[in-house]
Symmetry: C2
Subunit: 206 residues, 2 copies
């Protein structure tokens, strides 16, 4: 099992935290508003609340933040994240959610890697999954990253949640996973699955 | 059932043509090498061979060509494609198949639309599916396009093949479907499904 820290106290932090506790992981919650972190840690049961900006207890640090917040918060934490595996779950959608906020071929995960401290590595994961699907289904989880060991750790954590990790490759693939987030939004808006679905793989063996 | 014309005589033309004939559609094949078109039409059984550059018999024209060939061939056909629904199935992968050949936020489908004649419309579809999977499985088929009527026609054709069409939105989403092609390649290269899989949706109703 894994030691994880959730930075963020919103719906995705709650959804991932709930699965993480159920999967037997050690969970810490950090929020800029300490009372929200305390509340979420209590609600998750068995989780602890850390102090904003301190060194996270978890080896895996999930930034459960809106896309705009991820890079600034990682920069703010700075050396407190040294040696950590940082998991970016965000979707930098534009205002109409039919394109990304960055026009260049980058991603929040790649930008996060630029500001992360030495020895930290960034993995993109979870961004193609609607929060309510994570609460009731067992969707596939795509992940991308440059550090094989970090990805293996995140994959093991994903498996502890009862979900299937799907490695798509290096961190530069995070750009195309953000695009897969747009594809998921597009499908939902065009009548697929009444929003109760996730992108995944179907196997045709033999 | 649909009237379709395949421009191209390669493996994808054969795979789609086989399913199209089995699905009760009227199928025409066109190739720059007439003997290859004749051969494929004969192999498909009940299909006809058209003449390269002539007005296609099909209402739906599938350019089953390598990505580099799609835009030039549509330009070459010119007004012969007036009023047709053109289906681009290509993946403009770079030499290492870990990125696209165009760095801007466009797609072969969008570039094809720029050279297509008046009254023609372009739909992106099929590009996330490995040919061998199309031959043995029932993968989901993502599609994108600006013309709702054209997309409805292509969706009906896809259903006639026993496959599920998944509308992701406007033609600009073709860029992200090409990205989904890269995600599919990335998954295959990282041990998912031994190449015998396709991207699709999993529903979690209720």
């Amino acid at each position: 099992m894994s030691n994880i820290t959730l930075i963020g106290t919103g719906n995705m932090a709650r959804a991932i935290g709930t699965l993480a506790v159920a999967g037997g992981n050690t969970v810490e919650v950090m929020g800029r508003d300490q009372s929200k972190a305390d509340d979420l840690a209590g609600a998750l049961g068995g989780a602890t609340a850390g102090k904003w900006g301190a060194v996270p207890a978890g080896d895996i640090v999930i930034t459960a933040l809106l896309a705009d917040g991820v890079v600034p918060v990682i920069a703010e934490y700075g050396d407190a994240l040294a040696g950590k595996v940082i998991v970016d779950i965000s979707n930098p959608f534009n205002a109409t959610a039919d394109g990304l906020t960055h026009s260049e071929e980058t991603s929040i995960a790649q930008e996060a890697a630029k500001v992360a401290p030495a020895g930290a590595s960034v993995v993109k994961a979870f961004n193609t999954i609607f929060r309510h699907v994570l609460e009731k289904g067992r969707p596939n989880v795509f992940l991308a990253g440059d550090d094989a060991q970090a990805k293996a750790g995140v994959a093991a954590f994903i498996e502890s949640l009862g979900l299937r990790p799907l490695d798509v490759g290096d961190l530069k693939m995070a750009h195309w996973l953000e695009g897969a987030g747009l594809v998921t939004m597009g499908l939902a808006r065009h009548g697929v699955g009444n929003w109760d679905f996730a992108l995944g793989v179907t196997e045709f063996p033999g």
